[in-house]
């Protein structure tokens, strides 16, 4: 039986057309990352403007310019299916690095917003 925990990390996006980089530490009891989900308090802004690079244990999971909307879900999706499945990704040193890039998009106007990264993690036995 897997022991699953969910983790959430936030990045505040305060300026338009900039890169915001932040590193997070996972608990030492966590062995694998199984899923990733991106969301925001102003989800139209992350949907149209966002892209990011994600590294876990210095391994690139999503490369630069990977659009955030590909890692989001709407409320029509079952909660059990919302996370992007990355298999059993070993966390190693537990370091999660996210480089989020805000790009101007003609469909939205910028205002400060927060993005949240949710991880589904599996505890070590």
């Amino acid at each position: 039986m897997k022991n699953i925990v969910k983790k959430r990390f936030d990045i505040n996006i305060t300026e338009a057309d900039k890169i915001f980089s932040k590193s997070f530490e996972l608990d030492k009891t966590i062995a694998f990352v199984n899923g990733i989900l991106f969301t925001s308090d102003k989800d139209d802004l992350i949907y149209y403007r966002g892209s990011q690079k994600v590294e876990i244990n210095k391994q690139e999971v999503f490369p630069e310019n990977y659009e955030s909307k590909l890692l989001m879900t709407g409320i029509n999706v079952s909660p059990n299916q919302r996370f992007y499945d990355v298999g059993d990704l070993p966390v190693g040193n537990g370091n999660v690095k996210v480089e989020y890039k805000d790009i101007n998009d003609g469909r939205t106007s910028f205002e400060p917003y927060r993005i949240s990264i949710y991880l589904t993690c599996e505890l070590a036995d």
Binding site: D43, P63, E64, Y66, N76, G106, R107
Partner: protein, 183 residues
């Protein structure tokens, strides 16, 4: 087996532009397993508004362009897709407890004795009753394909949106190629 992704960015600036490109697949790749496409539009779209879709009324989606991918030595395209700005019919079959007028405004059912509802907030997206692509869209999925192991992919992108509006538009198309490799 692990999966990785290559991103090809195309900057489109001219009306009706056709962009031919090549994507190099790493030698470690054993098979291509999926393709995704997306777009960043760097300027306002003419005639584009951010209102929620009307219910019971099918609206035509705005197509940004068309991507086609082909392998060398293969007779046909293995992938062809239209990139759509957003799905305007996302709430077409949704039956809510309120109705929406033709111009997108919400009018609540109320008796004559009740006061009229307060005006909508300035940020239209704060209204939880409306449906947008980023709230009611489904989870994005790969277009799953399995192809032979080639080292190069030929691609062609054709602009549609600027051609339809007859105005030069500046936008970026992103093509994602997911591939599989040994550990």
């Amino acid at each position: 087996m692990i999966q990785d992704v290559i991103i090809q960015q195309l900057n489109i600036t001219k009306l009706g532009e056709q962009h031919y490109f090549q994507i190099n697949v790493p030698r470690s790749a054993e098979a291509i397993v999926g393709v995704e496409v997306g777009a960043f539009i760097n300027q306002s779209l003419i005639g584009q508004n951010n209102t929620a879709p009307n219910r019971f009324f099918i609206r035509r989606n705005r197509v940004i362009g068309e991507v086609r991918l082909q392998m060398p030595n293969q007779p046909n395209f293995f992938y062809s897709s239209e990139i759509v700005s957003e799905d305007k019919n996302i709430a077409t079959d949704d039956i809510p407890s309120f109705r929406s007028t033709n111009n997108g405004r919400i009018s609540y059912r109320r008796s004559l004795n009740n006061p009229p509802p307060p005006p909508p907030p300035p940020r239209i997206l704060n209204n939880p009753l409306k449906s947008f692509q980023h709230t009611h869209g489904y989870r994005k999925e790969l277009d799953e394909i399995l192809t032979c192991n080639e080292r190069i992919i030929y691609g062609c992108y054709k602009d549609i949106i600027a051609k339809s509006t007859q105005v030069d538009l500046n936008y970026t198309i992103q093509v994602y190629i997911w591939y599989q490799e040994e550990d």
